[in-house]
């Protein structure tokens, strides 16, 4: 199972940027579309306390939005 979860919505440009970035880095991730998976959306909001996408669950932390620096830092520790 992928160690990284990307919670996204279908039209969100930041989500696309995040996923492109992870693909470029060759990092495997699970893509969860929270605009269709209501249960996953609720779980994400409950766990992170944040009502926004993209959210990346990595190393037990949540990164909100497309934050290249934070992603690079956390990828190294996966």
């Amino acid at each position: 199972m992928a160690k990284i979860k990307v919670y996204s919505t279908s039209m969100c440009p930041y989500c696309k940027m995040t996923k492109e970035f992870l693909k470029e880095k060759g990092v495997e991730f699970e893509d969860i579309d929270v605009s269709v998976d209501r249960e996953a959306a609720m779980k994400m909001i409950e766990k992170s306390g944040q009502m926004a996408v993209s959210q990346i669950e990595i190393n037990g932390k949540f990164i909100i939005g497309f934050d290249r620096e934070a992603l690079e830092r956390e990828i190294k520790n996966v």
Binding site: C12, P13, K16, M17, G49, M51, A52, V53, R68
Partner: protein, 306 residues
């Protein structure tokens, strides 16, 4: 020392970079991301050559075009200051300091904030500036959209399909924007438009629970909403410019004042696109402006004694 440092990577910057590369100028691009506001657009149907393209797709095309050239790009980095020292510039980022003969500022715009109590506290906890991104999370809930123009109408149209109720709140007496969109919003039985209404406060606990609005200057209303979509336009992204001789001239809206050659009042400093006082904020006008800025910059550098 670079010939030119281009700050930003939206349509103005990318176009400037393409022209710089073709002029064989030694160029550095400093940017947080590639695409600028264009990357955040939904459907684009007015960029010449493309009958239809989405914002992220166009941003990808921009990136491919940029990376075709052998140009230094510092991506994921924010320029924190620009300083003119004698006849050259230094640009500082969190990582280092770079020098150039010319700087082109094309940093674009960012969403305007309401600056009311609760806005910062509840950002990403119900308060959002991107309906396209976060809208789906508010399915089955009541929400408020604040703003009086096309972007507020666009957000309302997206939300009225999924939310239980949409309050559309505008300071104006009437909504301003495309008639087609206004009619669509007015036809929906889920949308309630509050005109001449000022949002005063956003409140809640862990997440947003309500907003306080004053209508017609006297009538106070508390609206129970879980989401607040702020769509009140944008402000230029300003980077501090230090120059011992003269301050950088800006309009009262903080837009960098440029002439028809994209020159600012500081020689060697050029600006282009939405960060300037250009009369229209379109992807294509920004791209054209970036071209003018670079060609003017090239003439400037060519005339300088080496």
């Amino acid at each position: 020392m670079y010939d030119t440092i281009i700050i930003g990577a939206g349509p103005a910057d990318i176009t400037a970079t393409v022209y710089a590369a073709r002029k064989k100028m030694k160029t550095l691009v400093i940017t947080e991301n590639i695409g600028g506001q264009a990357a955040l657009s939904g459907d684009i149907e007015n960029y010449t050559g493309y009958q239809f393209i989405t914002g992220p797709e166009l941003a990808k095309k921009f990136e491919e075009h940029l990376k075709k050239f052998d140009i230094d790009v510092k991506e994921g980095t924010e320029a924190v200051s620009v300083e003119k020292i004698d006849d050259y510039f230094t640009v500082k980022t969190g990582e280092g300091t770079y020098e150039s003969e010319i700087v082109i500022l094309a940093t674009g715009r960012k969403p305007r904030m309401l600056n009311i109590p609760g806005e910062r506290k509840f950002k990403n906890r119900g308060v959002t500036y991107c309906a396209t991104c976060d809208g789906p999370l508010f399915a089955g809930r009541a929400v408020a959209v604040i703003g009086g123009g096309n972007s507020a109408l666009d957000a309302t149209i997206q939300l009225m399909a999924i939310a239980t109720k949409v309050y559309l709140i505008t300071r104006n007496k009437e909504m301003k924007g495309d008639t087609v969109m206004i009619e669509k919003v007015k036809r929906s039985n889920k949308v309630e438009i509050l005109r001449d209404a000022v949002t005063k406060e956003i409140s809640g606990d862990k997440f947003v629970k309500a907003i306080r609005v004053v209508v017609n200057k006297t009538e106070e209303k508390i609206l129970d909403v879980k989401g607040v979509f702020i769509e009140i336009g944008s402000v230029p992204v300003a980077i501090p410019v230090k120059n011992s001789e003269e301050k950088l001239k800006v309009t009262k809206y903080n837009e960098i004042i440029v002439n028809e050659h994209c020159e600012t009042n500081i020689s060697g400093l050029f600006a282009a696109g939405d960060v300037t006082n250009i009369p229209e904020n379109q992807i294509i006008t920004a791209a054209g402006h970036g071209c003018i800025a670079l060609l003017s910059a090239f003439k400037y550098i060519s005339k300088r004694p080496s």
